[in-house]
Amino acid sequence: MSTPTLFGLFGAAAAGLGLYGLIVNPQPLRKILGFNLLGSGAFVFFGVVARRGAAAGFGADPVPQAMVITGIVVAFSATAMAVALLLRLFQATGSATLHVDASPAAGEATSDA
């Protein structure tokens, strides 16, 4: 098996694992972690396509590489936003659960704002 194919299969497995973590873990922070794992698996696909497209003296096609660099930065922005939302939820309600029954009454929730 060639190196790109091997790492392509790795990317597929990482994306599947991330998706499983995203669905199954009840804690929002663990969901963010799963989401990042899913994303990194998808990014590896770009690396595989870039490596397969090696030509003109380059070890890998630069275009997918550049797109993945942009993708990593955008994923980080989304993660920072998600973490800020989560911390605000915790600050406002004293809990970090997504469970509907467990959230306190609306009156309590806004007491901090």
């Binding site: 922070l29 663990r30 380059f58 990593i72 989304a78 920072a80 915790f90």
Partner: protein, 315 residues
């Protein structure tokens, strides 16, 4: 199986095992540490895919900054940990999720195995036009010239993320300082490192931006190192986060995208197209964009990690 193939297969299995750990670990803190390890090892896979620029980005942002962000959040959310353990979904739901994930992974694997051969590539097009940018690193050429629009929009996404994070501040704290004030032993190891490392880190950060013209590196990777040095000083309590109402802060935040936009509109005005650089000035223009952009990136990343304003400026 040759030696190299064996190493590749071992690397893939090792990184996957760490990925399983980040999903399966009971403690969130441990899971995040697993994720940082995963990112660092993933960078080796990027090197094996001949994508050193991506490896640097993955190490600095995907693993490093995301890791710090999640570790900080895990520490603050520690009290919610025991309660969350009771919310585990039923076995049937977990089985369904596992089946769905396995199907998605299998579909992706099938896609990898059926990629066209010979692979389509834009590498010759980049090589043919590389001379026009005056930049030797093909990835920098693509980021700063051929697909500059993507990079410009990515800067806007970063700016929007900062606005989004800030907007989560309670009304009475608007304009205040982000995040908690960090305290550290002034004689301790953290404070020592926060004095020792920044002079070195700042030089390395600027160097990585500078060499990206001809070697792996870039404004992002360099800016991340600069942000890390700032964060180190903040975490050691040597400096405080600036209040978000400061005008200089806001000017630095928009400097990068603003210069990029002005150069882009200049291309339109000179008659070619939006973001088209006159060939004779391509290299100086790219540098003119990269310098303020590096500063903007460093400050933006630092502020994204600091979070929403939590303290009024009076305190």
């Amino acid at each position: 199986m040759t030696m190299v193939e064996g190493v590749d297969a071992g690397l893939a299995v090792l990184v996957l095992a760490v990925a399983v750990w980040t999903i399966a670990a009971h403690d969130t803190f441990a899971a995040v540490v697993g994720f940082v390890t995963y990112g660092l090892l993933l960078a080796l896979i990027w090197v094996r895919l001949e994508a050193v620029d991506v490896a640097l980005t993955e190490t600095a942002i995907g693993s490093g900054l995301t890791g710090v962000l999640l570790l900080g959040a895990a520490a603050r959310l520690r009290v919610t940990e025991t309660r969350a353990a009771t919310e585990r979904p039923a076995a049937l739901a977990r089985l369904a999720a596992a089946t769905l994930s396995a199907v998605v992974a299998a579909a992706l694997a099938a896609a990898v195995l059926s990629l066209p051969d010979p692979a389509p590539t834009l590498a010759p097009a980049v090589a043919d036009n590389a001379a026009a940018t005056g930049v030797g690193n093909p990835v920098t050429s693509v980021l700063m010239a051929f697909r500059a629009m993507d990079t410009l929009l990515e800067k806007v996404v970063l700016l929007l993320a900062v606005v989004g994070v800030w907007s989560l501040a309670p009304d009475r704290l608007w304009g205040g300082r982000p995040g908690p004030r960090h305290q550290a032993d002034p004689q301790g190891m953290l404070a020592f490192l926060a004095r020792l490392l920044p002079p070195v880190g700042i030089v390395v950060g600027i160097y990585i931006v500078w060499v990206s013209a001809d070697h792996p590196g870039g404004a992002f990777q360099g800016g991340t190192i600069l942000a890390a040095m700032w964060l180190l000083a903040m975490m050691a309590g040597l400096t405080d986060t600036p209040p978000v109402s400061r005008r200089w802060l806001r000017l630095v935040l928009i400097a990068g995208p603003a210069v990029f936009l002005i150069v882009g509109l200049g291309g339109l005005w000179l008659g070619q197209a939006f973001l088209a650089y006159p060939e004779a000035y391509a290299k100086p223009l790219i540098l003119a964009i990269e310098v303020p952009m590096t500063l903007t990136i460093a400050v933006t990343l630092g502020l994204l990690l600091a979070g929403a304003p939590e303290r009024s400026t009076e305190r």
